[in-house]
Symmetry: C2
């Protein structure tokens, strides 16, 4: 018997071991074959994703992309989570105004703080862009980056959205969460590219989306390096806009923060046009998708494309829809393409 | 024989296979035990690195850092590669002036281009900061990001440094290359945080240091999104400074681009002070190190700390040396701590 064993070449033992291990661990291979996008209905949107992933990750594909170059960028508001009736960050800023006024009582009778303190929703909705800039400056700057993080964290832990009475971070779209995980499991690096504040989104991006802070590109305000009373280094958030990460600012922000052109980009409004154009202008297989909010029952319905109601937040006009079709961008119908929208749905 | 095999419990076969594979692949375990820093002499600098890595990566250590938070930042000029007699990027800008003048002949008789075209080294060295800004604006902006990348790549492929007559990218410090690889093998994400141009360094960072473009933080100029004559989206480099990534700009840039405080930071001059302070101000084990250029034979010698010659580039004054000692930053003596400096040394 010893002699018989000796006849096997040296590589045979590990080879057969690997074969046996392969059979015994076949369960994991089976799980890889299960649908990575269970909340997506079969249809052109889901098909476009799967086709793109195969084309870019199969080493035998002529459109194969090396793992280091697999970048996918996602708008946040309206693409990864609900943006109606107002952006979550705007709700945050409004919630901070009473504390700002408490610290500086002279603001109580000064606009726009007077209007915000009145709680008059119609008057708040009618505030001008200049008013909003004052609110943003008062609530998003002047504190250290550490203080800001603590304040946002506290708000996220207690604030509830007006419709479902849930934490804002529960209002992420389950199909997009699956898409993020699917792309990462296929070697893509997933980034958020949002018009929202970079520091704000970074507070929860890792926990909520599995996206680390360094992969969040957002609207960037400057910071100022200095020292606290004990001589400890601090960064103070300054009222200085370095990047308005919307429209043309999105590809500009992608270049600044990533330095590579994405292979896939996902958005939902006119603010995402340039990011999608820039993505599709690259060589090889590129995927550009837009979420259309056409489900008033399960979420919200707004366009005004396809006869949907008009909106002030996350506009998707008919000419934008036509541009998407012309450019080969895939429109995702929340109503038809998504089996469920939120993880808390039955 | 069949019966005897059946006596083994089900888990036995994979268990013994793993054991056999373990013995057969023991070579890799042995290689992990070899010195990851062979170009470093034994001494306090090398010891500080190894102690820090053990403290932050051993799960049983009270100072253990989860892999996602393991960020290490490296200055480039003078820390990862030679910065004397001039920064490589300055050599690049000077090399571009003839082409800029050829495209705009009216510049031929205008300062500072006239002086650069004269080739008079002393006069070039005496140019004012305003002159340099004009040279940088003329050679680093106005082209598309793609054109810029092509131009830098071409220069890197042909330009030689004045002393060793080698490509600039060969002048990286072998001990620091080993340190980058060592930290990455221990789960650290390595970043360059340089006063040099972010777009410039990103052209070669992956190839030269194994650091991908998205992990390069540098001085950032704005870009402008637009379309070429064929309607294809382009980004044009604009003469607009968004981040001066030096001194206080380094922690500000780290916050903007990474959003996490580093656990380890490496520099060589006064421009790195704030990055090192910011790094050490965090909780737990933090490593701050400075490279001292004290080897005129194998590289260059400048300080003026420790009686070394004074310099215009990469200043390391005596009071900075004293501050380092006071703050627990570890000074690396190139002469004493490094067995070899360049990979091309015998």
């Amino acid at each position: 018997m010893v002699n018989r064993n000796l006849r096997y070449p040296k590589f045979f033992i590990p080879a057969i071991c690997i074969a046996i291990l392969g059979v015994l661990t076949a369960g994991s291979a089976v799980s890889q074959m299960t649908d990575p996008l269970p909340s997506w209905n079969s249809g052109p949107a889901k098909q476009a994703i799967v086709t793109f992933v195969r084309a870019t990750t199969d080493p035998k594909s002529p459109q194969f992309v090396p793992p280091a170059e697999r970048i996918a960028t996602f708008d946040q508001d309206g693409t990864l989570w609900t943006e109606h009736p107002i952006y979550s960050q705007v709700a945050y800023c409004l919630s901070r105004v009473p504390e700002v006024v408490a610290a500086k009582p002279e603001l109580k009778d000064v606009e726009p703080f007077k209007t915000v303190m009145s709680g008059d929703r119609e008057a708040i909705a009618a505030l001008s862009m200049k008013d909003w800039e004052a609110i943003l400056a008062a609530t998003l700057t002047g504190m250290t980056t550490d203080q800001f993080q603590t304040e946002v964290q506290a708000w996220l832990g207690s604030a509830k959205d007006p419709r479902w009475k849930r934490a804002y971070t529960e209002l992420t779209f389950q199909p997009m969460q699956e898409l993020l995980r699917y792309l990462r499991s296929e070697g893509f690096k997933t980034y958020i590219v949002t018009g929202g504040g970079q520091d704000f989104v970074r507070v929860y991006s890792e926990k909520v989306y599995g996206i680390p802070p360094e992969q969040v590109v957002g609207t960037v305000g400057g910071t100022t390096y200095g020292y606290d009373a004990n001589g400890k280094p601090i960064l103070t958030k300054a009222p200085k806009l370095l990047l308005n990460d919307d429209h043309a600012g999105k590809p500009e922000g992608i270049h600044m923060m990533i330095g590579r052109r994405p292979y896939a980009a996902f958005g939902n409004s006119v603010g995402d046009q340039q990011m999608l154009e820039y993505t599709k202008a690259g060589d090889g297989a590129r995927l550009a998708m837009l979420v259309l909010h056409d489900d008033a029952v399960r979420e919200y319905a707004y366009g005004p494309a396809k006869g949907l109601p008009d909106t002030k937040f996350g506009t998707f006009p008919q000419e934008y829809y036509d541009l998407a079709i012309k450019n080969g961008w895939v429109v995702i119908s929340m109503k038809n393409d998504w089996k469920r929208i939120f993880s808390f749905e039955k």
